[in-house]
Amino acid sequence: MRGGYTWRVYTACSVGGMSIGHTLLGLLESGPRHGYDLKRAFDERFGHDRPLAYGQVYSTMARLLKNGLVEVEGIEPGGGPERKRYAITDAGITDVEAWLAQPERPEPYLQTTLYTKVVLALLTGRSAADLLDTQRAEHLRLMRELTRRKSSDDLADQLICDHALFHLEADLRWLELTAARLDQLAAAVTR
């Protein structure tokens, strides 16, 4: 996808990195599960177009196990990591609670690439307005896609789309503001 600024960015932000461990822990709070069940529950609720890899589930569970946040409640015959049944420990519950209570760091979304492109266009005598128009069209194309996707009855998915739509809208407001100030910006950067 052109631009590389897709709704996946937001899904990745909301459940990416360290927080996959916390998410899996949270899913275990309702009762013990096998690794495969955990992956399925994660994909259903949070994975959407970006399911977890099995390897990621098992490496995460191994880490949680090592840190005492989960324990193995039972192993079915046949061996292999998929046979383990995990349960959350008291330390694990405390960890989920602390994670939920901790506010996420607001993303500054400094539009560095776009800003750089605009300034370079002005410095080199190219049309920054055309660049902004092209970007607006690309943002709107993605916003249409997300708006269409929202017509499904899946409320959870609608909320994910809304999150992305509000961020894209914020970008567009920045694009409009920059477009309206291009003459001033040109004067400032070429001084």
Partner: protein, 227 residues
Amino acid sequence: MTTEPLLQATDVRKSYGRTAALDGADLTVRAGEVVAVMGPSGSGKSTLLHCLAGIVRADSGELRYRGQDLTAMSDGRRSALRRSDFGFVFQFGQLVPELTCLENVAIPLRLAGERRRAAEAKAAAWLERLEVADVAGQRPGEVSGGQGQRVAVARALVAGPRVIFADEPTGALDSLNGERVMRLLTDAAHDTGAAVVLVTHEARVAAYSDREIVVRDGKSRDTERVS
């Protein structure tokens, strides 16, 4: 798209006194498509809509609706065309405060000569479709902003227009009500085959369109036409 244009504006200019509101605007609208007209406040997007709808007469340029030259039409003919072929939704509903919501929706049909009973039956069906059947007997001052806008959309659609002109239709609504109005408006337009010219400065509203054009300093470029 290969279908013939329903509405076509070429190099349209319009000034109010010494202020040029439109300074060479182009736009093509085909049957059944939703086109968003975007741009900052004061860019001329509402003036473009008014020229396209024949509400104001352009100073120069070409405006064609189904092949007919709008600029050459008499005021009377343009008024008749607006009643028969166009529907309108504005930012603040602009419903008649003394009439009930049902009577408001029936206005375009009554103006076209339809009998009260038949007109109100059709109006009731549209209120149902726009999910505001429960306010049929109430006056506009007694309903919420979101309900009033849905009544206005019903009124715009009731006479089966070929084009709906919507000028900031969600401008006075919160996000949820705005989205509901847009969803109902665009779904109904798609179902009836009506085109929509949607003036908005909000990207989330424009995202309900099939494509957008941008007006800046009275100029617009229709990428559809360029390509």
